[in-house]
């Protein structure tokens, strides 16, 4: 079925005229309507998507197809899309129309892709279950009583349910990888700075990174090549040339060395998930890789460092939402103070307010050194640990999340348990390393994700390892039942 095919397969089908982009787009639009209850999308761009699909078909007919011509892509609603609603999952921006395109959006559109809609997400990307969205939770296509993970839950569920060819996501502490794991898809968070942050609504500036959410590692390589690259509008963007990732994909794992860190297999890891991960590790051994146990002495401070740095940066990034120039404004403000306070308190949800409060506290006079500065120092220690490890191994593997998708509402009252869902992913953000999650099996009918962490700018290495694994296995081809139900226009 066309909606479950990888981008690579779809491009081939478009090329040989098996179906048109218009048909592919219509199919997705129809499915989106049918599966509306999953709540994957905040906005669906039906008209403009069909127009773009028709344009793509014409371009292809003229021999002017771009690298993604006619492929329907969904963007996490954290990316600004010109003249289109951009909400970041918040009431604060429920009526905000972005006046410009994010670099990521512009680049993907320039390659000929069809922007099909904007996906649901945790409010301002703060959450691990997609339950903090002002637009309601997203449901996991594998079990609709469960969460899809977060914060890029809408994107992950949309890809898994066959509601787009691929999607973009952002990852500050695991927001691409953890939902990818819970929804059984491939999600890549590149090196910090590899993809421009221009037009991507900020959560924590020094950790935020965009990335592709796809069905296969090959698709992720294709998307990354389009999304990555220097952007003069983002000071933290890396200027290095973008490699042709697709060329890396077929390098053999023979003779390579993979690191396993015991801190990734702690008590919190669900037993069945651990089994699945151990089996995946064996496959990598079969593929010719040597497995080596490595030590990352400071990795256990990742959670503390992250829950200082991310809220601190968020607390000030979110100060611009004051009801003056855009966004929610309270009714009939009595005075300036009332305008600020009520607009912000009404516009932000509880989780966002909590993080603003904690963040402001850790930056306040007398606490800065003990919290923010200390956390940034620990970050360097964590980075140094990884650099030490990469002298011995090519990349690291381990679980993406401590457990599979949990029930909706299960952890909403337990803040700390929710925060610990990111326990394995946040080190990658703190160190700024490329990391991805691929599906490697199931635990009680729910997908389990394996995380691969590479050295700086070595996206090619982990993409290739993932691709080799996916050539050997079929886990990435498994789709939830509702994605094979024949809902056709």
């Amino acid at each position: 079925m066309m909606h479950n095919e990888s981008i690579t397969e779809q491009l081939h089908a478009l090329k040989i005229g098996k179906y048109s982009s218009k048909e592919l787009t219509e199919n997705y639009l129809y499915r989106i309507k049918k599966l509306k209850d999953l709540n994957c999308y905040i906005s669906v761009l039906e008209e403009s998507a069909l127009r773009a699909a028709t344009d793509a078909d014409q371009a292809r007919a003229k021999g002017k197809a771009g690298l993604l011509s006619g492929i329907p892509i969904a963007h996490k609603d954290i990316f600004c899309t010109k003249n289109v609603s951009t909400t970041a999952g918040s009431k604060m921006l429920h009526n905000y129309i972005a006046p410009f395109d994010a670099t990521v959006v512009a680049k993907i559109a320039a390659a000929g892709a069809v922007t099909i809609g904007k996906t649901n997400m945790d409010e301002f990307a703060m959450g691990s279950s997609n339950e903090t969205s002002y637009f309601g939770p997203v449901k996991n296509p594998w079990d609709t009583s469960r969460v899809p993970g977060g914060s890029s839950g809408g994107s992950a569920a949309a890809v898994a349910a066959g509601l787009c060819s691929a999607a973009t996501g952002t990852d500050t502490g695991g927001s691409i990888r953890q939902p990818a794991a819970h929804c059984g898809i491939t999600g890549l968070k590149p090196t910090y700075g590899r993809i421009s942050r221009w037009g991507m609504i900020a959560f924590a500036s020094s950790l935020d990174q965009a990335g592709p959410m796809t069905r296969t590692a090959e698709d992720a390589a294709l998307m990354l090549a389009l999304m990555a690259g220097n952007d003069p509008k983002d000071s933290t963007c890396i200027g290095d040339d973008v490699p042709t990732y697709l060329e890396y994909l077929n390098s053999s794992l023979d003779g390579s060395c993979i690191g396993i860190c015991e801190d990734f297999f702690t008590d919190g890891l669900e037993a069945k998930s651990e089994q699945v991960i151990q089996e995946a590790i064996k496959i990598f051994e079969h593929l010719g890789a040597k497995i080596k146990s490595i030590k990352l002495p400071h990795i256990r401070y990742s959670v503390p460092a992250y829950y200082v740095i991310a809220p601190a940066e968020a607390s000030t990034n979110l100060s611009r939402y004051d009801g003056v120039r855009f966004g929610h404004r309270c009714k009939d403000p009595e005075n300036l103070n009332d305008l600020f306070k009520r607009s912000r308190s009404e516009g932000f949800g509880n989780e966002v307010k909590r993080r603003i409060m904690v963040g402001a506290f850790t930056l306040s006079a007398g606490y800065y050194d003990a919290y923010y500065r200390q956390a940034q120092q620990i970050r360097r220690l964590i980075k140094n640990d990884f650099q030490q490890a990469f002298k011995e191994v090519d990349f690291l593997i381990g679980p993406t999340a401590p457990q599979t998708a949990f029930q909706l509402g299960e952890k909403t009252d337990s803040q700390i348990e929710m925060y610990l869902q990111d326990i394995y992913t946040i080190a990658g953000n703190l160190a700024g390393l490329p990391a991805m999650s691929i599906p490697v099996g199931f635990s009680s009918k729910l997908p389990v994700g394996l995380q691969l962490i590479g050295n700086y700018l070595q996206e090619g290495t982990i993409l290739s390892a993932a691709h080799q694994y996916q050539k050997r296995t079929d886990w990435h081809k498994c789709v939830p039942v509702l994605a094979i139900n024949k809902v056709q226009p």
């Binding site: 970041a88 940066e313 100060s319 004051d322 930056l363």
Partner: protein, 477 residues
Amino acid sequence: MNWEAIIGLEIHVQLHTNSKIFSGASTAFGAEPNTQASAVDLGLPGVLPVVNEAVYPKAVAFGLSIGADISRLSVFDRKNYFYPDLPKGYQITQMDKPIVLGGSVQISLDGGTLKEIRITRAHLEEDAGKSLHDEFPSNTGIDLNRAGIPLLEIVSEPDMRTAKEAVAYARYIHQLVTYLGVSDGNMSEGSLRCDANVSIRPMGGTKMGTRTETKNVNSFKFLENAINFEITRQRDVLESGGHIIQETRLYDPDRDETRSMRSKETAMDYRYFPEPDLLPIAIDDEYILDIKSKMPELPREKSERFESDYEISKADADILVSDPAIADYFEAVTKICSDGKLVANWVRVELLGKINKDSIENKAIPVSAEELGKLLNRIKDQTISGKIAKDILNILWSSPMVNVDDYINENELKQVSNTSSLEPLIEEVLKQNPKQVEQFRQGKTKVVGYFVGQIMEKTSGKANPQQVNQLVLKKLT
């Protein structure tokens, strides 16, 4: 009791650039509200700052000119507070690692003595927008055209003791940044704004008193008034047994007073931390040397050179170098007319007088240096009298295209200096004024001036007054 004031200034200098410090919006003054506020300046969701390369050489040049340390690695920080004209809810500034550290300047006090004022630091930051309180009855309007204009904030040590010293220091900084081309120095457009930190203590004391910070002081006159008001206010409070509250105050030029700013009442906690959207800025010795090699001559060096090169007084030289536009003009005139003293006198008295009278920019002198030089040469070679020269300067001022020599010829303004044509005139005047001649004979020699005046009138000012004076005396004795 005798009190002593302790004064430190924070001077915000708008840097002269085409675009803003973190965005590509224009910095031109006077545009329609919010037409020069880009997405970055407005702090729209998803925007990011990128540093303008033009701000660094300016900050470094200033640092070099005051003998400061230039940071090889400087870092931008966020200063967090809410105000409607601060779009992002934080100002990007430099807290821990400013570009300029230390340094000092010498200011001239009355009587010609010099005093050193130490500078703590100077850092780069973005300007805020403007809140317009008087446009609408129940609203404040926000114009963000100014948001993101690059500023250099220059912080002095509390080394000043009187309002006059503070003004002398502020004037010196103004002169320096104008010289360096760091700023256009246009005070009326807010290119230089001062905050004054003032405290007082018993004369001779060593302990600092509680200080207040007075904001919004945008002219040298207001600065002097605001500080004097604050000194008097604090003295009155202390002498009547009260104590000073550490607070931010606002200078109101209309009432000539400072008053507490209620909006800043709550103690501020700015939660500074390194701006994660920007990276540290690294500069090397080569970069600094390059800027050093391109630095213009500074006012003090220039003044000394003028004194020796043109043999003019220190007072004249100081006035001429007070503005680089005037100094350059003076030097251009001396290229035509080599009499430095004459040129200095004319530029200082006539030209600056006219500039002040017409309130025009020093840069905008309508008379070219070349024409003024020619005009002064005609005085020197006695072609015309000083009085005629002043008349011609007035003509040139309003008709800059006039050629001095042509004008003198066409209007027959050449000085009458041959004795034979003057003698009959003198005889005529003496004959017509027997009473005054009699007064002279009785010893009232001052009456000569009267005769000279009469003859100048008869020649429409073209006679050489000294020569006439001599001839009259000769006739009378």
